[in-house]
Amino acid sequence: MQLTEVLVAVAIFSIPLTSTVQLASQKHLNDKNQFSSQYLAKAIERDRLAIQTAWVQLTPTTCPKLRGPEDMQTAAQAVPVSSGLRREVRILDDQGKELFGQTVYTGKAVWVRWSSSDGTLLRQRLYTPMGLGLCW
C-alpha cells in the first residue's frame, strides 16, 4: 500500500471520527445546559410560591395603603433564595404617566425579578397589594 493511499484512508476515517467527538461533546454540553435550566425553572417556581405564601400572611389594610409594598419587600427578603438563583424585589413607585394629555396614576407595586448567578434575567412578575388581596 502506497503512502498516498494510507493518507487518504486516514483522512476519510478521521472526518467522521472528528465529527463524532464534536457531536458527543455538544450533546454533553446540551444535556448540562438543559439540566441547569430545568433546575432553575423549578427553583424559581418554588421561590415564587414561598414569597407569595409569606405575602398572604401580611395583615390586610385599607387600599391604597402606601406601606403595603414596603412590607412585601421586607417579607420577601426574609425568604431564603435557592443556590444558583438571584432574586431582586424592587418597589415601583408610580410617578404617574402622561396619557392623552392627562396624568394617570396607580398605586405602588413590587417587581420581582429572578436571574441566574451570571445575571441573566429568567423571569419577572409584578405584584400589587390589591392583586394579593392585601387591601380593600
Binding site: P16, S19, T20, L23, A24, Q26, K27, N30, D31, N33, Q34, S37, Q38, A41, P60, C63, P64, R90, L92, D94, K97, L99, F100, Q102, V104, Y105, T106, G107, A109, W111, L121, L122, R123, Q124, R125, L126, Y127, T128, M130, G131, L132, G133, C135, W136
Partner: protein, 145 residues
C-alpha cells in the same frame, strides 16, 4: 454510530426548542398576570371605578374625561413597560379582550386578557374589596396556547 449521534443531536435540538417555547409561554403568562394586577389596581381607583359596571362590548365612557377600556389598556401597557422598556420580557403588549361584570354593583368581574399576537389568553376573576371586604384576583384559569 455517526448517524445515531446525528439523531441524538437532532433530538437535543428539539428538546431545547421545546424548552425555549416553554420559557416563552411562562414569560407571556407572567406578563398577563402582571397586567391583571395593574388593571385591577386601576379599576380600584375612583377614576376608572365606573367601568366595572359595564361590559367591554358596551363601550362605556365614564365621567367628564371619557375614561374607556381602550384607554385602560394603553395605561396598563405604559405602566408595565415603564421600568424595563428595553427588556424582551416586557415587549409583548397586552389587550383587554373582555370585562364581564358578575354583579350589578361592579364589585366582581371576569377579566380576559390576551397577548397582542393572540397566542396566549388568560381569564381572571377580580373581587374588589369595597365595603371592608378583602380584594382578590384569581388566576386559576388555564392559559391556552
Amino acid at each position: 454510530m455517526f448517524t445515531g449521534l446525528v439523531a441524538l443531536s437532532l433530538a437535543d435540538f428539539q428538546s431545547a426548542k421545546s424548552e425555549m417555547m416553554e420559557m416563552e409561554r411562562n414569560s407571556s403568562n407572567d406578563q398577563l398576570v402582571s397586567a391583571a394586577q395593574v388593571i385591577a389596581e386601576y379599576l380600584q381607583l375612583n377614576r376608572y371605578r365606573c367601568l366595572r359596571q359595564y361590559k367591554l362590548s358596551d363601550n362605556p365612557t365614564c365621567g367628564d374625561r371619557a375614561d374607556t377600556f381602550p384607554k385602560l389598556t394603553v395605561a396598563t401597557n405604559e405602566f408595565l413597560n415603564t421600568p424595563y422598556a428595553n427588556l424582551p420580557l416586557s415587549s409583548r403588549r397586552i389587550e383587554i379582550i373582555n370585562w364581564d361584570p358578575q354583579n350589578s354593583g361592579g364589585t366582581r368581574g371576569l377579566l380576559s386578557l390576551a397577548t397582542e399576537d393572540g397566542n396566549q389568553k388568560k381569564d381572571f376573576y377580580i373581587n374588589f374589596g369595597d365595603g371592608g371586604q378583602r380584594s382578590s384576583i384569581s388566576d386559576e384559569s388555564q392559559s391556552r396556547t
